[in-house]
């Protein structure tokens, strides 16, 4: 199919993904964002969350990504994140344990509350990504 664009996902430890994709759903800091080919140039901060990349064959690759940035330019999407876990490698038990722990936590300060919300969203995100395996 002609409507593809190159997508690269890198972390500080390795290059996780590099293929032509038809659609990319990325977790921008203010919500989920969808990108298709010939999108206008974009430079956006990413938050923790689910990333879905649909390759040219129609297969969806799901990842849980840590914070980072997405740059779309000249029909090339570059994703630089602190960590990227493929859906197949997400451990359901540990995500559920983390969710349980975060929900049970008592947050006394604003910082702790923010961290609690973030951890809850992270574990929920991981569990929902794993469901797509």
């Amino acid at each position: 199919m002609a409507d593809t664009f190159r997508c690269t996902l890198v972390t500080p430890e390795r290059q996780v993904f590099e293929q032509d994709v038809t659609y990319a759903s990325i977790p921008a800091w203010d919500g989920q964002m969808g990108l298709m080919h010939q999108r206008a140039p974009l430079l956006v901060k990413l938050g923790n969350g689910a990333m879905r990349l649909d390759d040219a064959a129609g297969k969806s690759h799901w990842y849980f990504v840590g914070e980072g940035f997405a740059q779309m330019r000249d029909d090339k999407l570059s994703l630089v994140v602190g960590a990227a876990v493929p859906a197949e490698e997400i451990s359901v038990e540990s995500a559920q344990a983390q969710l349980k722990e975060a929900l049970a936590r008592v947050a006394l300060t604003d910082e702790e509350a923010a961290r609690k919300t973030r951890d809850i969203e992270r574990s929920r995100s991981m569990l929902s990504i794993h469901a797509h395996v």
Binding site: V10, P12, E13, R14, P41, L43, V44, K45, S78
Partner: protein
């Protein structure tokens, strides 16, 4: 004969040592390849971050100068600096640690007027500074042959916090730099403060050639990217240090193996000479004895 027995013992000892150094050379080679692959795998990330900083700097500075707590500023000097020295835990790596510690000592000497807090990675650095009597503020042991990004990030976050709190004028890192397989030289990297990216970018390209959709504002994006630059720089220092250590050990153990081989050959020749002279002596004694009986 006693002499031949001694030499035979030495030949066996040298043979054992040769086997050990050869094994160490092979292990170092394998570890080097793994470390080099890891260091190379980190490059795309580091390059991309630098590219994004460059692109943002041109845009962000168009509205005025960029300022950030991690950048160079005109704030009054505190007279305190922090130096991180990265050496190895194990020895038998040739001149690796000596070279790094020499550069570190020179740095400490050249910056005598400042109060320098010394932090170290590696037992060899610990032993050295203890020997010369230089007090060490902190010693990190969790970084091994395979420094993890999360561990380095923790250290980088700590340093950035200390720096922005006004504790230090600068934070420098001295470690082995990798230039090529044949060339590694110790380098002193100024981790903080960072060079103003607008100043760096301005020399190269004009204003951003691409009109981006920025989310959030370019200034805020840049502010998020600068700490990441610090983290990747520190990670690169650690990666190059590990690669350099494995190469140094490879080279040292190869030299040791070759020396052991040469020594073994030399000793074998001596052994044969000693054996032959013992036989000759015995023969002449027998002949002399036989002649005396006639």
């Amino acid at each position: 004969m006693a002499k031949t027995r001694e030499i035979k013992r030495r030949i066996r000892a040298v043979g054992n040592i040769k086997r050990i150094t050869k094994t160490m050379q092979m292990i170092a080679t394998a570890r080097f390849q793994a470390a080099f692959r890891r260091a190379s795998a980190a490059q795309p990330y580091t390059r991309k971050i630098a590219e994004l900083v460059g692109e943002l700097a041109a845009t962000a500075s168009a509205g005025g100068t960029i300022s950030h707590p991690l950048l160079k500023s005109d704030k009054p000097a505190t007279g305190r600096k922090l130096l991180l020295v990265i050496a190895s835990n194990r020895g038998l790596c040739g001149g690796y640690n000596a070279n790094i510690l020499r550069v570190a000592t020179a740095f400490l000497r050249d910056n005598k007027e400042a109060q320098i807090d010394l932090e170290i990675v590696g037992k060899k650095a610990q032993a050295y500074f203890k020997f010369i009597g230089r007090p060490v503020a902190k010693s990190y042991t969790q970084f091994g042959d395979n420094p993890r990004y999360e561990d380095v990030v923790q250290l980088a976050d700590q340093y950035m916090q200390l720096f922005t709190a006004g504790g230090y004028d600068s934070i420098d890192v001295i470690s082995m730099g990798f230039i090529s397989m044949a060339k590694q030289t110790p380098k002193a990297v100024r981790l903080l403060p960072l060079e103003n990216p607008a100043a760096v970018a301005g020399e190269k390209a004009p204003a951003a050639s691409v009109q981006y959709d920025f989310s959030p504002e370019p200034t805020e994006l840049l502010n998020e990217l600068l700490p990441i630059t610090v983290k990747t720089q520190l990670f690169q220092c650690f990666n190059e240090a590990v690669v350099g250590e494995q190469i140094a050990r490879m080279v040292a153990m190869k030299a040791a193996t070759d020396s052991a081989g040469k020594m073994g050959k030399e000793l074998t020749r001596r052994y044969n000479r000693a054996r032959q002279s013992a036989i000759t002596t015995e023969l002449s004694e027998i002949i002399a004895g036989a002649a005396a009986l006639e």
